[in-house]
């Protein structure tokens, strides 16, 4: 694990503004050209408790979160006590002068003196951090100007004053921190988390309807639609419950909208019947499921990868589906885009399965190449022979030409019961078999389109770490760690876990020495799925289900 990076953690109570400090600093670092991995750890409450905002920053590529802390900004005394064990040898603790640093080196900041009002403390902390990190002050100054602009010039000026006096104060202190190396890259990057990237992936693919019911950690997908999607003409409605959310989306999709439904595990549990309806009526829908630890309400604001099984088998009866599991915000964008296309192309429910860690994890994201995006499939508006139109015409691929109602004289009839080619309810058992076979034929198409897992590392490694979704970064860094220790290592990451195409990965598994599944759930859900689909039996696994993201350290300690 490279030593070129710094781990900054801001800790305090909910409501103390630690997210503001974190967001400002992280965004400034991205603007300055650094790589970051943000980990947000918060409790299920609005005020009080103990939350942290961790920024790992480096001038080189970094992938995952880390436990150790180099700079701890303690907004209250509890933060020092709770995190002292994580402090590195060079660590500094930054806290108000009234807070006992418990003997740790650092700075006792005279917030009262530096700030005309308590609300400026966040900006003062940023001033101190800027100084310690040797960050060009202009990055934060510009950000302060951007973000406070709507509050008026006076507010901007006051903030800038506090910022610079705090920085000056820090410059005068003895405690110093080794300056970060200047960043290599200069191309602009985006400061974006997983949920935001998902929202943009959907919007780029033409998503224009979102019905949702709020649920942590999925809400910021909807929030991004509200703030950004509306400007793209997206129609967004907060439904009365999750059942309504998915059924409303299916009605809109039927009528030609491109639909996304964001939720979390408990909300998705209520959509299971609707998923089956999407399967039966062959109505495209993309469900974004941001996982949190279950069962039931579990730990509402923490992370886990425990809902894969539910997503794989949600819905009664047999019908095809696809499940995407992005590992980074970039993949969130790309795979959500792809999910929108696949849902439409195969007229099936398609899932984007993410988790709280990735949902809330800001990174420096390479701007998406919008021009290079492949075209997205879509329904037709009219046809040559409206009278003869059949929504469920039997075809070799299983895909029937999908028309939207109202744009021509054709009629679009869809049915939750078994139905004839023209969509009407039937109890003809020969037709039943034809329709099951037709629907299941689409599975072959979905399978042919599968995004293969990505492999990185040594060929025929002595250790192969297999993972999916957000565990990717930790696995990549754990492999780096192994290599640093002189062992060959590689990572196989599944960005799509269903369908599974054994020939895409079985040879890789078979030529590796030790193969270890790394997943954020107790029962090794992907390992089981792989065994089911191709018989490969994982003999080792690193699992985590305490609500925190998997880290390289966590993996290495268990190998």
């Amino acid at each position: 694990m490279s030593d070129t990076c710094v781990s900054i953690v801001i800790g305090g109570e909910a409501g103390q503004g630690l997210v503001t400090v974190g967001d400002f600093l992280a965004k400034a670092l991205v603007r300055a050209g650094y790589e970051i991995v943000v980990t947000q750890d918060y409790m299920s409450r609005i005020r009080g408790g103990h939350n942290t905002y961790a920024i790992r920053v480096s001038h080189e590529a970094i992938h995952g979160p880390r436990e150790s802390i180099d700079l701890l900004v303690a907004l209250n005394a509890e933060t020092v006590a709770l995190h002292r064990a994580q402090l590195t040898s060079r660590a500094l603790v930054l806290a108000d002068e009234a807070i006992d640093r418990l003997g740790h080196p650092g700075l006792s900041i005279p917030f009262k003196a530096l700030c005309p009002k308590p609300m400026f403390e966040n900006v003062a902390a940023l001033g101190v951090l800027t100084q310690l990190l040797c960050l060009e002050r202009s990055w934060l100054e510009a950000l302060i100007r951007d973000e406070f602009a709507k509050k008026g010039d006076e507010v901007v000026r006051q903030n800038l004053d506090v910022f610079s006096s705090a920085q000056d104060w820090a410059a005068g202190q003895k405690a110093v921190f080794s300056c970060m190396a200047p960043p290599v890259r200069t191309a602009k990057r985006l400061f974006m988390n997983g949920n935001e990237a998902i929202a943009f992936g959907a919007l780029a693919a033409g998503a224009n309807f979102c019905s949702y019911y709020p649920m942590t950690p999925a809400t910021s997908v909807a929030a991004t639609f509200v703030s950004q999607g509306t400007k793209m003409g997206m129609l967004i409605e907060q439904a009365e419950d999750e059942i309504a959310a998915i059924n409303m989306a299916l009605g809109a999709s039927y009528a030609g909208a491109r639909v996304v439904v964001p939720t979390s595990g408990g909300g998705f549990a209520l959509m299971v019947e609707g998923v089956s309806l999407a399967g039966m009526t062959e109505t495209p829908v993309v469900v974004v499921l941001a996982q949190r630890p279950g069962p039931a309400t579990g730990l509402p604001t923490r992370t886990e990868q425990g809902d894969l099984n539910m997503v794989l088998y949600a819905g009664h009866g047999d019908f095809p589906r696809a499940v995407f599991t992005p590992g980074t915000p970039e993949q969130c964008f790309e795979l959500t885009y792809r999910a929108m296309d696949q849902a439409e192309k195969w007229q099936s429910p398609v899932f984007v399965l993410t988790d709280q860690f990735l949902a809330d994890s800001y990174r420096a994201v390479v701007p998406f190449d919008l021009e290079a995006l492949p075209p997205v499939s879509g329904p037709g508006l009219t046809c040559e022979d409206p009278a003869g139109y059949k929504r469920y015409a039997l075809t070799p691929s299983g895909v029937s030409p999908r028309l939207v109602p109202g744009f021509g004289e054709h009629l679009v009839v869809v049915d939750s019961d078994e139905h004839t080619e023209d969509g009407h309810i039937t109890e003809d058992l020969t037709v039943r078999v034809q329709m099951v076979d037709k629907r299941m034929r689409k599975f072959d198409g979905l399978a042919a389109d599968v995004v293969p897992p990505t492999y990185s590392g040594d060929e025929a490694p002595s250790t192969l770490l297999v993972c999916w979704g957000s565990a990717m970064g930790a696995a990549l860094e754990a492999a780096q760690g192994l290599r640093a220790g002189g062992k060959s290592a590689a990572v196989l990451h599944f960005g799509q876990v269903y369908p599974l195409i054994p020939k895409q990965f079985l040879p890789i598994l078979e030529r590796a020495g030790r193969v270890v599944m790394v997943e954020g759930n107790q029962s090794c859900q992907l390992a089981r799925l792989i065994r089911q689909e191709c018989g490969y039996h994982f003999k080792e696994a690193v699992t985590r289900y305490d609500g925190l993201p998997i880290t390289a350290r966590y993996i290495l300690d268990r190998l």
């Binding site: 990057r189 985006l190 400061f191 974006m192 935001e196 943009f200 919007l203 780029a204 693919a205 033409g206 309807f209 019905s211 950004q228 509306t230 793209m232 003409g233 997206m234 129609l235 967004i236 439904a239 009365e240 419950d241 059942i243 309504a244 998915i246 059924n247 409303m248 989306a249 299916l250 009605g251 809109a252 039927y254 009528a255 030609g256 909208a257 019947e273 609707g274 309806l277 009526t281 994201v365 701007p367 919008l370 021009e371 508006l381 409206p386 939207v404 109602p405 109202g406 744009f407 021509g408 004289e409 009629l411 679009v412 009839v413 869809v414 049915d415 939750s416 019961d417 009407h424 309810i425």
Partner: protein
């Protein structure tokens, strides 16, 4: 006026004598009066005997899940405001399994018409008490009588100021057709609760029982008078008023949301240049 034949003629799976046949006739009549070409009409339904109705009509149809006729109807209505949208289902589907959507639809007030075939029983599953079954009425599943008070959809709708609340009776086809047409013309969410004899499982609320009790609301009832409407909504016993109970002028949902998002969504394409601009905000 579009000829009735345009709306098709199908064999149904309903019992002979069932009130559903009459409702289907009235629906066709109303569509014809409204001059609605089949391809501009969408019927969404749930599951039950009533919910099969859209299969017996030439129109666009979304026959979804039990209890879930309203969410897809509203989704489609918003995705394409040029469609004339109906949802049609039974009392169990609409007020039992689907009760929460009913409450939300009353609040949301999307322009559409809700036709509830109210036979006061679960027909397709063979005769359990439905939310509108009279308290104490015995069924095979409630041999000691339905223990709960019946749901009063009209009173709830009026109490929530739904813009158009009506009751009709399958035995009065022309009157019913006229009410459906009025409902469809009214902006916002229109409810028509239709008393429908189920000859197989409801031996209490028969054609004769309804005929004896139903009377048409006349000119003396002012449907814009909320208190009068509430009184009429509460009347269900020896006398049952049929007709438009309440009519208000709440602005429909469509007028309350950002107009930029209200266009047929099927024809919209993402403006990638604009998207690129929004992404700049994250830099």
């Amino acid at each position: 006026m579009i000829p009735l034949e345009q709306y098709g003629e199908f064999e149904t799976a309903w019992c002979p004598g069932c009130g559903n046949h009459a409702i289907l006739k009235a629906v066709k009549k109303a569509l014809s009066t409204l001059d609605l070409p089949p391809h501009k009409v969408l019927f969404a339904s749930g599951i039950g005997q009533a919910a099969k109705a859209p299969h017996y009509l030439r129109c666009n149809a979304f026959n979804g899940l039990h209890g879930r006729s309203l969410p897809p109807a509203q989704g489609a209505a918003l995705a394409n405001t040029e469609l004339t949208v109906f949802a049609e289902s039974g009392d169990g589907c609409s007020y039992g399994e689907g009760g929460n959507h009913f409450l939300a639809a009353l609040r949301r007030n999307v322009t559409m018409t809700y036709l509830v075939h109210d036979n006061q029983i679960y027909g397709l599953t063979k005769g359990q008490a439905s939310p509108t079954t009279a308290q104490g009425q015995k069924t095979k599943f409630q041999p000691d009588g339905a223990p709960s008070m019946p749901f009063n959809p009209l009173a709830v709708a009026v109490s929530m100021n739904a813009p158009f609340v009506a009751r009709a009776f399958a035995g009065e086809i022309d009157h019913l057709a006229d009410i459906i047409a009025q409902a469809a013309r009214h902006p916002g969410f229109a409810l028509v609760d239709i008393l429908q004899p189920c000859v197989s499982f409801n031996k209490v609320n028969t054609y004769a029982w309804y005929r004896e009790r139903c009377y048409k609301l006349g000119a003396d009832h002012n449907p814009t008078d909320w208190e009068a409407a509430m009184r009429k909504a509460q009347e269900f016993g020896d006398r049952i008023p049929i007709g438009v109970i309440y009519k208000g002028d709440r602005a429909p949902f469509e007028t309350r949301i950002n107009p930029a998002v209200l266009r047929p969504l099927a024809t919209s394409r993402p403006d990638l240049a604009r998207l690129g601009g929004l992404l700049q905000g994250y830099a």
